[in-house]
Symmetry: D2
């Protein structure tokens, strides 16, 4: 049976039409390879203007796991580790990519996908000598892997403890657009640039064919980053492909417009599902939501929609993950809600 | 001063228009992520048909260095090494990517970019116990980094010694299209599939935005290759981007048509330069040529054309590298020849 | 103030006198280097006889962390992980040595230092595809890091689940002598050889200057282990130093006699401390015990004895670690008990 | 047939009797583990006095390959490489240990086992961007792998170019005793401390059971070196074993007395062999010599003496390696010379 719609993720479609159009328009200009082209340069300048930080350095890479590998491996000495919440993408869903670069992840418990300053302090205090790793970085995601977001005060708290403990603060922005476009968010790109040492602006999950822009604000981490990209196989010959897309996304507000649309579609799902009396795994205000539904209804929905069953809550109910994107149509959302209501009726 | 044309490389432009068109046409179909989409599956089936090997397994990755990392790191145990000619891309121009995965490259001398069976045998015979690495793979490129190609008999000789010495034979096909489309080539994709254990079909340098198709013919090397891709940051969320492009390139003969065009443009350059009495660093019949020119003329050409000065030959002359591609226009070639002739007159 | 005695660890002294004597007697015989000498060969044969397994292969290395690195790194492919209890030495006290070899440790909760078959099954069941590591080995210690031991039935249960899930079972025997010499132990060296794929017999902590004997019983893990030792800097030029010591320890029952003495000294401490009404962190029957004492008494004891404060139990009490060895004299034990009793009186 | 004597290497015997005696005398003192004992501290102080550099930091490790791994891996960022002569131990006889830590070795040609400043300059000049590794260290050995030594002026030349090119200069001193005790040497320990950034003083090959003292003179390379030792499995629980031996070797001039004896025995061999009309592969003045002998005579010598055939010189002659040590008796040398003379007579 054909699916009505996939809510599996935010990378089921190709790219936003404006991006394809720009690729076509620029197609035959001859450019230098490996990211030294004019588009990459302009895109970097544009981003520096948006984050209001002329001293940042910007690098474009292909995907989130690649960005995480590059940032953490370039930042840490062999015996240094990174602290992360247990829900972190690097801790679970990157096939041991960080460990492959030689580094331990110090995992701390987390219900909401976020980490707290006191957890960081505790880990540091427990690691005292050369028989143990030395924690040197903190990994956070915004939005988190379960759709929640950091408030500015939380981010300031993390920045403060990292400063005290001499840790680098790194923010995985695979879904940064959705996080910053959340109605609950009080963080700007400029705040990020001020508060974290490195972050990346994810575009693969927000309208591009592929591409993440790594932003390094801390001067000591900037030199030679291109060596790391090249050595780990991340330097695209046609680097222009990444530059052109970011240039288009940040030429105006396209990047945030797309994220806002994704959030609105998620919000519409949340309201509809909530109205039917279901609860959620996390208080997400971004484009990933996790309604808790009875198994019997999940089975029926799976015949018509694509989504992941995320976590078993009890013997009868599970949280599922529904993801919306720039490409999600309101019709798909409404169809889902109608079907859910009808299944509930007979559930 | 504006350049008339860049002969710097074969990735100065975007993609062949047919590829952009297909990306547009398929843009809104919803697909599974991470290369499990229908386009990737169809592209893999198409390639298996072209190489006439239903038992091969095919994986799409972003670039050549990434392919080399993945293939060699997945193939070698920690103490095993790869034998390569001194001109090999992995030995010089990948920033130590292979060593970063933990493996030594046993480099052997080479004038023509190729390696000979007896060189392989010698290396194996010198490595006898656990105080030395154990050679376990051979790396070759076709076309080579200096534009030459392997003949079928040469490839058979390498396959034979690798069998005897229990080595894996791996062929880097960054410019495989140009190699196989060379008028001097007597090798088919089917031959490759029969003679080497792993090879990749390069598309970044032959008309795609990005993409290399890794073909693993040896059964013991096939399992779990996707784990390696994921763990090293090479698994694109929108894997469809790679599948769609390869599907288009191999739907008919586009892949080879583009390569043939590049070769014809290089051939036209060779004939023109040869007619002016210059010699070449290597007997290339592919899309990279290396004419040896006086420094004074090189300086003038550099005002108008982009290219690399490859190797100093003596106090007065250097070999330069000129690269053509699917996008090179005959007008650009002829302009170059006319300018060269005029510089020579007054040289 | 001078310490009366160190109960810090079981490696505070040099070697058992019989070992020093043998080193002297063999000192001027000329032997092959790198562990290919006659002493190493004889020691390996002696151990194979003791474990009743002529097909095992035996390698001598310098220390426990080195043994763990070598065994796990040689056993795992890049994307494979090892499952271990949270108390495991590799998870805490090896400075990220296992991660440095590229592998994740999947840590499971443990109160008693041991792991249970169902914990292993759960971890395996959660790891289903190439976005996650693939668990491939289980790490256990006997005795554990908190002095407890595995019973034969427990080991059989672990062996069974490892067989089902196709995992390698590896036992860290840094304190294997003490474990097997425990009055509660029902496991023999022969049992170990039958039930686990690799284990090591620790001698550094049981009377030798240094040395651990790695025993590999699983045929597929035996080839080329010496390559790993050499490549990781573990192959001693004077390998004889290790062979001679193991030969002496296993010539008769010296290895177990020394362990039994250490256990008896620990047991005497346990009885004495228990009689004073204190409890223990773990039910140890080996040479590490963890009495829980009031902070005020700990402070006084620290003036006279060396030991680690292991874990804060509540606001007033902490568990301390007392370690005995082949060299611990009954007088030192009794002095400690007398002092503890006197502090308690006035405590 | 029983061998008369092994000239295979300088680690065929145990330890110098004074070392064994000191191990016995100190055996029962209780010490802190992991190299934090009093003997290690005193040994470090003694060495700092000998090299006349109170700011150096000293670490004791088990063997030469381990020292090379630790020094180079701690010194280099992932994309940085080490330059070494083609004869270097790290380039051939360490089973790819340096590559396993992720680093390329830039090998330069060498006839005499040494490297020249202009070779270093050339390698640096060829490596210009992030497509290639960045050379950051130079590896030399004194004595070299073929018995030659550096003169002070040569070492000054290397130090100068390293300073210019911002490279670390590292000296492998596996046979440093023999080098400095050579009659041709004009280098002192103090010179070394001034001219190189890191070196190690080898004792395994000069009278100890095992042990190399790594001396780090460059401040930026000193912090956290113990983390590296621990993480790579090199921190011995009974670190005292290393400290006690170095303390004894440097208490007076024992270290150099032993080396001088080894050199004298080698010199006696050289004179005797030279007198018979044979030439040598290298002009060694240390404890490794490489006479070139006819194959027929080599075969006969192999019945009675242990040694390696080092290099085939032509169809009839090969260089063999004869190594002497603190334990080589003049009788063994003379017996060898007598046998050689008799074989020559009938050769």
């Amino acid at each position: 049976m054909e699916m009505k719609h996939l809510f599996l993720d935010d990378y089921s479609e190709g790219a936003h039409p404006r991006i394809l159009k720009t690729l076509e328009e620029t197609n035959l200009s001859q450019e230098l390879g490996y990211g030294e082209d004019d588009y990459c340069r302009q895109a970097a300048e544009t981003i520096k203007a948006k984050i209001e930080n002329p001293y940042a350095s910007i690098y474009f890479v292909s995907g989130g796991t690649q960005a995480n590998i590059l940032v953490l491996a370039s930042m840490l000495k062999p015996y240094e580790s990174v602290i992360a919440p247990q829900t972190a993408h690097i801790a679970i869903h990157e096939a041991g990519a960080i460990e492959l670069t030689g580094h331990k992840i110090n995992v701390v418990p987390s219900k909401d996908g976020k980490i707290k300053p006191e957890q960081i302090a505790d880990i540091c205090d427990e690691h005292t000598d050369e028989h143990m790793v030395r924690p040197k970085a903190v990994f956070i995601s915004n939005s988190t892997e379960i759709g929640t977001i950091y408030k500015k005060s939380e981010l300031e708290g993390l920045a403060e403890i990292c400063k005290q403990k001499r840790l680098f603060l790194y923010l995985d922005g695979a879904r940064l657009g959705s996080a910053l476009a959340s109605l609950e968010s009080d963080i700007s790109l400029r705040d990020l640039s001020r508060l974290v040492d490195v972050f990346y602006i994810g575009a693969t999950k927000n309208g591009a064919l592929l591409g993440e822009a790594v932003v390094i604000t801390r001067p000591e981490l900037q030199p030679d980053f291109r060596y790391h990209i090249k050595q780990r196989g991340g330097l695209l010959a046609k680097g222009r492909l990444l530059g052109i897309q970011f240039l288009e996304l940040f030429r105006d507000n396209l990047y945030f417009d797309l994220a806002r649309h994704a959030n609105e579609m998620a919000c519409r799902l949340v309201h509809g599902i909530d109205a039917l009396g279901y609860s959620f795994l996390s208080p997400s205000t971004t484009n990933q939501i996790f309604p808790i539904l009875p198994g019997s209804i999940i089975t029926k929905l799976q015949q018509m929609y694509g989504f992941y069953v995320w976590e078993k809550m009890d013997s009868e109910n599970s949280a599922i993950r529904l993801v919306t994107s720039w490409a999600t149509k309101v019709e798909a959302v409404d169809a889902f809600l109608i079907d859910l209501r009808s299944f509930r009726g007979v559930g």
